[in-house]
Amino acid sequence: MQTKVRLQSEEFDAAAETAALTRGRTDIGALVTFTGICRGAESGEPIAALTLEHYPGMAEAEIARHVEEAKARWPLLGVTVIHRYGRIAAGENIVLVVTASSHREAAFAAAEFLMDYLKTRAPFWKQVESKSGKTWVEAKGADDAAAARWEKPSGREAAE
């Protein structure tokens, strides 16, 4: 089981990361890659860049903890999570989640689970840079709702 979690300010190469995860293996039947990209407009207004602030130490730990939870929930054969911080120009990548499994259900579910958690639990904060200045992005209720669907009904181990 190959696991990679990385925080970095520099751009990443999604294709190289998926290649690294599958190289020389024939047990992987399904590979899901999610790439989050900095859009050139936010709520209709053109933006130049995002700046991502993060909590060093905690961000790595939170992501690693959720990767472990994904591995416990689904039969995964490999997981890669890369999250950037610092200034990210429009069109550049922000985040990468790659999940590998024998079958597609596990790969899709784990990738969505990880993305929902990254959006709501990993300590990152986005600031938008546009003509009208810098603005902190507000958390979305829809993201909390998306993350809530993975929560167990009661007790830590209850639904596992």
Binding site: A59, V95, M115, K119, P123, E138, A139
Partner: protein, 83 residues
């Protein structure tokens, strides 16, 4: 104990981190926020809506009623917007 601030909490407080010694009567995260809010105008502004501020003790998410006893590092920040 060491306090760390992120995003607009950091901007409003005007510093990224500081060391504080709250009075013994301050025992929970919520009480700490209330106490910090009374430390001046910038703190009052930063902590005016404690419900929109999240906290972590020693790099783990905690709820407002969590006890702060033994904490080395307490962080305050807005809801996360990563991913």
């Amino acid at each position: 104990m060491k306090l760390i601030y992120f995003a607009w909490v950091r901007e409003r407080v005007g510093k990224a981190e500081e060391d504080v010694v709250p009075p013994a009567s301050v025992t929970t995260v919520a009480e700490l926020m209330r106490w910090l809010g009374g430390r001046g105008e910038e703190y009052a502004h930063a902590f005016e809506h404690p419900k929109s501020i999240r906290a972590a003790i020693d790099k783990s998410h905690v709820r407002p009623d969590t006890a702060i006893a033994g904490a080395r590092e307490i962080a305050f920040f807005p809801p996360m917007t990563g991913g």
